[in-house]
């Protein structure tokens, strides 16, 4: 991974990442919201930036938020970001403010309204976010980052208000809920890859290529380990359990 990152950052090999339909759909959803004159809602999840398990998800969700905010400003769609974790609040505010600034539209960023803090409590956040979607008649809803049991409540209410929904999660227990409720779902590490895809930094693409190579090596080890184990050799499993 470090080697592919190094090659990409030096410009020796910058891999081309296939565009995910879900990422492409962000544009479509923003365009739809602009045409309808209704806002788009964004949740970067209910997990903090120092959560052991979901910090990566929150970081990826904030990268996607930066892109979404910038595109929303370009298309003229109103953006509302719902925040659950206090540690995410200042970062999300900075990400969105930066996106407005890049498009020279800082005046459209409304302090306390564009990025709204709701509640660190899972259900407190869910009710606030759902209420906001209903009141504001959201045209699109983006759910990224770490979500838990509130995922179903938010996504189904999003479908009820007729919002076009795009979600991404690495929580395998919530993925089925997003899959049935949302138009597009970024499954597992697709969310991380999307963040790298949207980044303008070539080294981000390099590390995604390294990630794919690591996956190929893992598949190779699984196949080899299965064959060896069939013949009574546990070398691979012993190596991996060291």
């Amino acid at each position: 991974m470090l080697e592919t990152l190094n090659l990409a950052s030096k410009g020796k090999y910058v891999p081309k990442i296939r565009e995910h339909p879900g990422v492409k759909a962000i544009q479509e959803a923003l365009g739809r919201a602009t045409e309808m004159g209704r806002p788009v809602c964004y949740s970067p999840g209910t997990q903090s930036l120092y959560s052991t398990k979901y910090a990566g998800d929150t970081a990826a969700a904030l990268t996607i938020l930066g892109y979404t905010a910038q595109e929303a400003v370009k298309t003229g769609a109103d953006l509302i970001v719902g925040i659950s974790q206090p540690t995410v609040l200042p970062v999300a505010e900075e990400v969105v403010r930066q996106a407005y600034k890049l498009e020279s539209r800082e005046d459209e960023y409304v302090e306390g309204e564009t990025v709204r803090f709701y509640s660190p409590n899972q259900w407190g956040f869910a009710t606030s976010y759902v209420g906001m979607m209903h009141r504001e008649k959201a045209a699109a809803n983006f759910l990224f980052g770490g979500h838990a049991a509130e995922a179903m409540v938010i996504a189904e209410n999003g479908a009820t208000v007729g919002a076009m929904q795009i979600a991404g999660s690495t929580n395998v227990y919530q993925l089925p809920f997003f899959l049935v409720s949302c138009e597009y779902t970024l499954i597992g590490e697709d969310e991380y890859a999307a963040a790298a895809y949207l980044s303008t930094d070539p080294s981000q693409k390099g590390i995604v290529f390294g990630q794919d190579l690591a996956k190929l090596i893992t598949i190779g080890l699984i196949v080899l380990g299965s064959v060896l184990a069939t013949f009574g050799n546990s070398a691979i499993s012993s190596l991996l359990s060291m």
Binding site: G56, A59, T87, R135, A149, V180, A195, K215
Partner: protein, 210 residues
């Protein structure tokens, strides 16, 4: 955030990440103590951030009340509840006191349980939409779902003993292998994003510095 601040933040991020990572692999008492201190700092900073969140709620809802915006009465209710909890905690001196637990058990817990329970109805409505056999994929999803429901519901066994067994095949082979493949991908993806943060390539935690 200015460039100097961003650079300082990047250095802090890289150093802290490396200390925590190295401590995980290398049992060194000095490093262990440093990593514990850093983790404690994270908790303290998190507590300060909670104050920031409370301030954000207070200013936003105060404005709504003063300007008598739509549904401003709910803002009054929100702030009153927030101050009730704060006052109870401060007066009793503990968030584990009987008084604090009493209002928590009467307000937060029943509401949370009710919302959690509502998931059952949302699952039903989502399933109804998802199980419409519009194409081959949704048709397959429908067939798999029927067998899984027959595996879990007692009626499946009552109709024919083979039905739960077919459901088990879907669950044990297709479901478990698919889930493991996703988990392996997530594991490698997490490693990659962690690496990006440690070497300072991932700028988002610093406020979108790209």
């Amino acid at each position: 955030m200015s460039n100097v601040s961003k650079q300082i933040s990047s250095i802090v991020l890289v150093v802290v990440s490396l200390v925590i990572l190295v401590d995980f692999f290398w049992a060194n008492p000095t490093l262990k103590s440093l990593a514990t201190d850093l983790n404690n700092w994270a908790v303290v900073i998190g507590a300060f951030a909670l104050g920031l969140g409370a301030y954000s709620l207070l200013t936003r809802h105060s404005k709504r009340i003063l300007q008598k915006k739509e549904s401003w009465i709910f803002s009054v209710l929100l702030l009153a509840t927030m101050f009730l909890f704060i006052a109870t905690g401060l007066i009793t001196g503990s968030v584990t006191s009987d008084e604090y637990n009493f209002i928590y058990a009467l307000m937060v817990q029943p509401l949370s349980s009710a919302l959690y329970g509502m998931n059952a109805f949302f699952i039903a409505s989502a399933s109804y939409r998802a199980f419409k056999a519009k194409n081959v994929e949704s048709g397959l999803l429908l067939v798999a779902a029927i067998f899984l429901m027959l595996k879990n519901a007692p009626i499946g066994e009552a109709i024919h003993p083979i039905l739960p067994q077919i459901g088990s095949i879907f669950w044990d082979f297709a479901g478990a292998t698919g889930m493991r493949a996703i988990l392996i991908g997530i594991g490698i993806g997490t490693l990659a994003i962690g690496l990006r943060i440690i070497i300072g390539q991932e700028k988002t935690p610093l406020g979108g510095a790209e």
